[in-house]
Symmetry: C2
Subunit: 149 residues, 2 copies
Amino acid sequence: MISKKTKYALKALMALARNYSSQQPTQIADLAASERLPKKFLELILLDLKNEGLLVSKKGRGGGYRLARSPDLVPVGQVIRILEGTLSPLPCLSHRAYQKCEECLDEGTCAIRSVMKEVREATVRILDQTSLQNMLERAAATKPISFSI
Amino acid sequence: MISKKTKYALKALMALARNYSSQQPTQIADLAASERLPKKFLELILLDLKNEGLLVSKKGRGGGYRLARSPDLVPVGQVIRILEGTLSPLPCLSHRAYQKCEECLDEGTCAIRSVMKEVREATVRILDQTSLQNMLERAAATKPISFSI
DNA sequence: TTATAGACTATAAGTTCTATAGATTTTTAT
DNA sequence: ATAAAAATCTATAGAACTTATAGTCTATAA
């Protein structure tokens, strides 16, 4: 189960992706309001995303946040890795956050690890092939009513 | 990331699956020792699995736990659902533990939900098609040294 | 030089995770 | 009958993580 923090990050990034072509930064307060996210919590999340290179910021009047690169170059998997630490269902399967299972005698023969490896691979395949841009297109495709009236 | 509790449950169930043909119950203390799991914590886990119908128990001398059915009839997915509550990466995607996302205006057009639905489906596909029996076979297949000497 | 907006640090309530302790109940063997 | 064995049940508690909020600091633009 992904955390609210991760979900908030994705919501905010989607909003920034929609504004990407405008070249204008979006302020935290506006993002929080439009996406209905707690403002102070969102601050921390955006800072994190900035420190990981996904966002650029500008202080002072007219400032705010922008995507550091085009929405089609931001895989959802990368976002989740930043917020959750890893995509892996087991610590002993993670590249970024590897940790040995203390009670495990032999990783090489651990069947739990073997099954979960399949899960991780399937998850990675989906999440790293889906960009913010893909997500925007999905939302548009499943929202026909806004256009048909 | 699955919890230690879930991992412990799978380890214990694998051990019980290996003993299934003997028709003899295995005691908590033996399970805890052979799988290197904290005994009192394991008690709670086994009780949970019993209440969900995966295990049968017998009290008193010669008692212990046994699988309620053949290892090939126990999907890993069911075990994880019992311990984690759901396989879903989002509360709004879970059948068993559905919860609306408060900040979400429209589930039908939520792109995060749409991508995560794919992840859930891939995960379910793997975990519900893999039984305890399959796991035992995997472990045997990846452990050739024990047999080749 | 003042208002604006992000950056940073601290804190804290709430929840979940991980685990242990102790008393109780059921069953078997003697 | 009774003693021993083993699961069952209830309570508790520390640690970690999640989900925030508050307040101060720093950079920028008008």
